[in-house]
């Protein structure tokens, strides 16, 4: 089990064996929010207002204000409307939604029921990443418990409100985490993004208005309704309400998920994760999942972990996946690994991403393997620029941003590689740091 530290919202009170069971969740005050809504017949617009007040921002990566997104759903639309939960967590470094489903699935279920109530949707789907199996089964079991307790299904808790929630197990394609690709996949088609507009709020699942939120976003809702938007906002800082789960991985002593208030200094998070492994020096951090630009240690140590501060520093909070790299890391090799991921996961639908991700990977691969050319550095940036902002979905940007930022902050390592056909960080140092075999020697 990865280290897990919950205080605040999504992992609040998680301890012991059966935290995923309904009984345990009820003990922790679970479903109180739903019961309150049903008992007091709170009007849906008040719930949306509360969510807006909380300054909750989408936890999947884009950080879009959740309350605003919910208000886009056409209120008077005749016929079906849907909500979808995006649990297709596939970004390297990100493993928070997996733990929410594993340890606190009822918070997600309750959040989705409340969302369904607020937006007038009768049906919801949770799209679960294809490479996690036990979690999918656990979520199904939690759904069964909720149905059994009449928290889900027809006439919830004896009210006139009905809501059905289905789990869908994907096949593990990263692209299906893109919300419109998720919808396509959910419809049984090849998972590839749709062109927007139209946005899902007007033309979503099966062509009906649909709202898609991340697992953590939904799981934050019960707290907001129970304790009030104000209370949630006050956990974090203005415009960055609440707590956030950070998946800390890489060269730290205790990698794992840490829920901390937004606005906490990075140094504190690093401390929580047990500090740098072997007491080595921090070299770089990718603060928001593999698609976020990398930041060097000097910038990182002065940052607070919230949307606005990280954006100002030139990166993104993203999904909150913090990849920590110490001084034994070869940045060219690190980028090669990342570029390969995007090359492999591009859906191939639109030209810049289909052709560009392979080009980028091949160039980085060449540089890493001692076949770099002088013009490569400039080409890496140029090709990245030709991908960025020109694709149907954000995967193109996600592939380009790491390349640009690695070259920007660690250009000297690339230049060294090209010139000396060899890593700037000696292989024995890399080997010592990563404990992984580094196959070639210079």
């Amino acid at each position: 089990m990865t280290a897990l530290s919950g205080h605040g919202v999504v992992l609040d009170g998680i301890a012991g064996e059966n935290t995923w069971r309904l009984e345990d969740y009820l003990k922790r005050g679970g479903y109180a929010a739903l019961k309150k809504i049903i008992a007091e017949q709170i009007p849906p617009e008040n719930i949306i207002a509360e969510v807006k007040k909380s300054a909750l921002r989408g936890r999947g990566g884009a950080g879009f204000p959740t309350g605003l997104k919910w208000s886009f759903m056409p209120r008077a639309f005749p016929g079906a409307k849907y909500i979808c939960c995006n649990s297709d967590e596939g970004e390297p470094g990100t493993f928070k939604d997996r733990d929410i489903i594993r340890y606190n699935p009822h918070a997600l279920i309750e959040g989705m029921i409340i969302a369904g109530y607020a937006m007038g949707c009768g049906t919801g789907y949770n799209y679960i990443h294809g490479e996690i199996f036990a979690e999918y089964e656990r979520f199904e079991a939690a759904l069964a418990e909720a149905r059994e307790a009449n928290l889900l299904g027809s006439n919830i808790l004896g009210s006139a409100f009905s809501f059905e929630l289905h789990a869908h197990h994907g096949y593990g394609a990263y692209i299906c985490g893109e919300e419109t690709a998720l919808l396509e996949s959910l419809e049984g088609k090849k998972g590839q993004p749709r062109f927007k507009p139209p946005f899902p709020a007007s033309f979503g699942l099966y062509g009906k208005p649909t709202t898609i939120n991340n697992t953590e976003t939904f799981a934050s809702i019960p707290y907001i309704i129970r304790e009030g938007g104000e209370a949630f906002l006050n956990l974090g800082k203005p415009n960055n309400g609440g707590t956030k789960l950070f998946s800390v991985s890489g060269h730290v002593n205790r990698p794992g998920n840490y829920e901390i208030p937004l606005g906490t200094p990075f140094s504190e998070l690093l401390e929580l994760a047990g500090g740098m492994r072997g007491g080595r020096k921090l070299k770089a951090v990718i603060p928001g999942g593999s698609s976020a630009p990398v930041l060097p240690a000097s910038i990182m140590m002065d940052l607070t972990m919230d949307y606005d501060a990280i954006a100002k520093a030139g990166s993104m909070l993203g999904s909150g996946a913090v990849i920590v790299m110490d001084e034994t890391t070869c940045m060219v090799r690190a980028l090669e690994r990342l570029s390969y991921f995007y090359f492999e996961e591009s859906c191939g639908q639109c030209t810049p991403c289909r052709e560009g991700t392979g080009w980028l990977y091949r160039m980085v691969h060449r540089i890493e393997h001692g076949e770099g050319r002088a013009e490569d550095l400039e080409m890496l940036t140029g090709v990245s620029d030709n991908i960025m902002g020109r694709t149907i979905c954000a995967l193109g940007d996600a592939a380009a941003m790491p390349v640009k930022s690695f070259v920007k902050h660690f250009g000297d390592e690339f230049a060294y590689h090209i010139q000396h056909k060899c890593c700037l960080v000696p292989h024995e140092v890399q080997r010592e740091g990563s404990k992984i075999y580094v196959e070639h020697a210079c």
Partner: protein
């Protein structure tokens, strides 16, 4: 209306327009690959990226809706940089070997690369190679050239109605492919070749035979079905190399069927007749035109003198031009006979003399896409009229209730609101039931012509649903297909359809079997007075026949009887483009006349549109345009009124008799409908397969190699096969009252109970005789 500024020019566009629509309207070209006006928007090639004021990123013009006051720059630095960036990506994995690519010279990628590509590539990595696919005999592949625009995929899904190509794999490994091991069999598949912006999909028959700049583009009209698709025929060294669609929104839009596209191969068939021939003492001799024409004239004169002119008859192909049909009937009437007909596959002529005009579609072709409800009666629509089916498919997808009453549940690849499949003998009864339901809904008196029939039938729920949909549709049509035209009780079906249309305020139309099914009426190529129609000329053999483009055993309602009748004649004058063994056996003189590409003339399509065309090449060998041959033959017969020196003059003479539109009518009076008795035994359901329907297409090798070009088999539903003790794949002997044929049995649950489907117009089934009647089947 929305106001938009494109490159500084202001214009107004309708709500819902995209930036691409607006640019087209403004006459501004935005480079693109995946965008096509007839297909859905994919926005995947990214070539049409333009700069939009206030948008942080360049936006694809094809998919960006215009908003009021939008300002777009298509040539700004930002836009051009984006376009050049995309072009570079498109080219990195594309082979840069245009000189050996069949698309070279007519390639969108090549053209745009001139404007947006670099002089040299920065890409130094290995290029992608994609394995070619076998998509069948019509489409050739070079999949490494594919740029993944998905036009071919969308065409299949949206226009052809069947997704035969899709994108397999992912990312850089994405490939256009068919389903494992399948070929592309759609009757509209050739359009994918036109749509492909690169050399990935090219024409297999045309491949590497000419360069586009060596070809002249000449306009023509398809000689096949009653749509009259407009063609561009491409010619090199006086030989037709390729046929492409000529865009005409009112007729074929920008599509043509594979039959229209690939039948040109038959123009150089080894069976082409290129010299006049006469048979003397059972031996064929090539002769000069003078000899042949004199021979023909004297034999006609001889028969008239010996047996009377009424022993002369003419069977004319409905694929002949208006001018040819006119001159042929005029010639026959000139020698004193009234026996002339072009309706070769019809067997019910009881409405002759009672019609108010030429049966026609009843509405403009383009209107088909806008109907609210359409009932198609007796039509193998997809194969008989591929592009009309395409129009109805689009209508169906937009909410039109397309309904069918037919003798076989062939997949039309569209959603049918109602589908009634019955045996041929039940067709009249089923249509009557619908009429009865319509009368009940309308609460109206029924016409005397159908009153007796209606009294004898009851309307079931399905009949009522069809009648209701037709009544409720603001625009509704009842269309009669080829199977109705060929039905032994066609008159009753026509009368009932007319009554149905009257009761439901729908239009009624006859789709028409051939390119000149309307034109034949306009040309007057019909029996007059006591003259014999096509069936009568076969039933009571004459002493002399003039055949214009007709192969009796394949083109007539009862091919076997037709062949026997013609064979028994003392003199048979054949004017045609092909000399088959069968023709050689039955004819006495063969006059080589030019097929559509080598002559000028006109076709009148189903909606009554007169479409004239010029010859695109010189006649092959000594063949000559039939209008000239008929004119000279008439001169030799000393007939008056043949002083034409051009086909245009002939056409003018035909059309001088009055407006075509005024001669179109589906009204027939004075006839009474009757029900068919159900025969004992297995009823034959005979279709005329798409690639056997006329002399030209029968000789097009690539089409014959397609799935649609397969020799007929015996098809019955699985229950019947089991009842007969047969299994799919068994060799069977099929017998009719006139003969027998050896076929292979195949299970096909689209065939109704008590029926077997055996296609006509093929040598293997000629011996079965009539298109109708009963058959027996036993294991061979």
């Amino acid at each position: 209306m929305l106001e938009i500024e494109i490159d500084g020019a202001k214009l107004e566009v309708p709500d819902g327009s995209t930036v691409m629509d607006a640019a087209n309207r403004a006459g501004t070209f935005i480079p693109h690959f995946c965008y096509h006006k007839k297909l859905s928007i994919a926005a995947n090639c990214r070539m049409c990226l333009v700069e939009v004021e206030k948008a942080p990123k360049p936006l694809p013009a094809c998919a960006t809706p215009v908003t009021n006051g939008m300002k777009v720059s298509t040539h700004s630095n930002k836009a051009v940089n984006a376009q050049k960036g995309v072009m570079e990506f498109l080219l990195i994995n594309h082979p840069l070997d245009c000189p050996i690519c069949d698309q070279g010279g007519e390639c969108q990628l090549q053209d745009l690369a001139v404007g947006y590509g670099g002089g040299a590539s920065r890409y130094k990595e290995e290029k992608r190679v994609v394995v070619n696919k076998n998509l069948g005999p019509l489409i050739s592949t070079d999949m490494t050239r594919c740029i993944h625009c998905t036009r071919c995929v969308r065409f299949g899904q949206e226009v052809a109605g069947i997704m035969e190509l899709g994108v397999g794999n992912r990312g850089e490994h994405s490939e256009i492919m068919s389903f494992v091991g399948r070929t592309v069999d759609s009757e509209l598949s050739g359009n994918m070749i036109d749509l492909c912006p690169v050399g990935a999909l090219t024409s297999k028959p045309f491949r590497f035979s000419a360069r586009t700049w060596e070809l002249s583009r000449r306009k023509s009209v398809s000689p096949h079905d009653s749509l009259g698709a407009n063609l561009i025929v491409q010619v090199k060294h006086d030989e037709v190399k390729r046929v492409l669609p000529l865009e005409n929104e009112a007729v074929n839009e920008c599509w043509i069927s594979d039959k229209d596209r690939f039948s040109y191969e038959a123009l150089r068939s080894p069976e082409r007749l290129t010299t006049p021939r006469i048979k003397q003492g059972g031996v064929w001799r090539d002769v000069d035109w003078q000899t042949a024409l004199e021979y023909a004239a004297s034999s006609l004169k001889g028969v008239a003198a010996d047996h009377g002119a009424s022993q002369i008859g003419a069977l004319l192909s409905p694929h002949s031009t208006l001018e040819e049909l006119y001159l042929a009937q005029k010639l026959v009437h000139g020698v004193g006979s009234d026996n002339v007909d072009f309706r070769l596959r019809q067997s019910d002529f009881s409405l002759d003399g009672k019609r108010a005009g030429a049966p026609w579609l009843g509405l403009p072709v383009a209107e088909l896409s806008n109907q609210d409800a359409v009932l198609v009666v007796g039509s193998f629509l997809r194969k008989d009229h591929p592009l009309l089916a395409q129009r109805l498919r689009r209508a169906a997808s937009q909410g039109c209730d397309v309904m069918r009453l037919h003798v076989s549940a062939d997949d039309l690849l569209m959603t049918l609101a109602q589908d009634v499949i019955v045996a041929p003998s039940e067709l009249v009864r089923s249509l009557a039931a619908i009429v009865k339901a319509a009368a009940q809904i309308a609460g109206a008196e029924v016409s005397a012509s159908v009153a007796d029939v209606l009294a004898a039938v009851t309307a079931d729920e399905q009949a009522e649903a069809i009648a209701r949909a037709l009544s409720e549709g603001e625009k509704a049509a009842v269309l009669l297909g080829n199977f109705v035209a060929q039905h032994p009780n066609a008159a009753s079906l026509e009368l009932l359809a007319a009554e149905l249309a009257r009761l439901t305020q729908a239009s009624v139309g006859v789709i028409g079997e051939a390119a000149n099914s309307v034109g034949g009426y306009i040309a007057g190529a019909l029996p007059q007075g006591q003259g014999a129609n096509a069936a009568a000329m076969v039933a009571a053999p004459l002493k002399s026949y003039l055949l214009l483009g007709v192969e009796p055993e394949l083109d007539c309602a009862d091919g076997l009887a037709a062949r026997k009748a013609v064979q028994s004649a003392a003199s048979v004058i054949y004017l045609g483009s092909f000399a088959s063994d069968s023709i050689a056996e039955i004819a006495d003189v063969m006059l080589p006349v030019s097929p559509f590409a080598e002559t000028s003339g006109s076709y009148v399509n189903a909606e009554g549109r007169v479409q004239s065309f010029h010859a695109v090449t010189k006649p092959l060998g000594d063949s000559r345009p039939a209008w000239k041959v008929l004119r000279v033959l008439a001169n030799l017969l000393q007939l008056d009124g043949f002083e034409f020196d051009s086909s245009e003059a002939v056409r003018a003479a035909v059309l001088a008799q009055g407006e075509v539109a005024a001669k179109l009518s589906n009204v027939a009076e004075g006839a009474v409908a009757r029900l068919d008795a159900a025969p004992a035994g297995l009823q034959r359901v005979a279709d005329v397969p798409i690639h056997f329907a006329d002399a030209l297409v029968r000789r097009a090798p690539a089409l014959q190699a397609t799935r649609d070009g397969k020799a007929p088999d015996l098809r019955a539903n699985s229950a019947l096969l089991a009842e007969l003790g047969l299994q799919a794949g068994d060799a069977v002997r099929v017998r009719s009252s006139s003969g027998d044929a050896a076929l292979v049995a195949r299970a096909d649950d689209s065939v109704p109970a008590g029926c077997v489907r055996v296609a006509a117009a093929h040598a293997s089934t000629v011996a079965l005789g009539s298109l109708h009647g009963t058959l027996t089947v036993e294991r061979a």
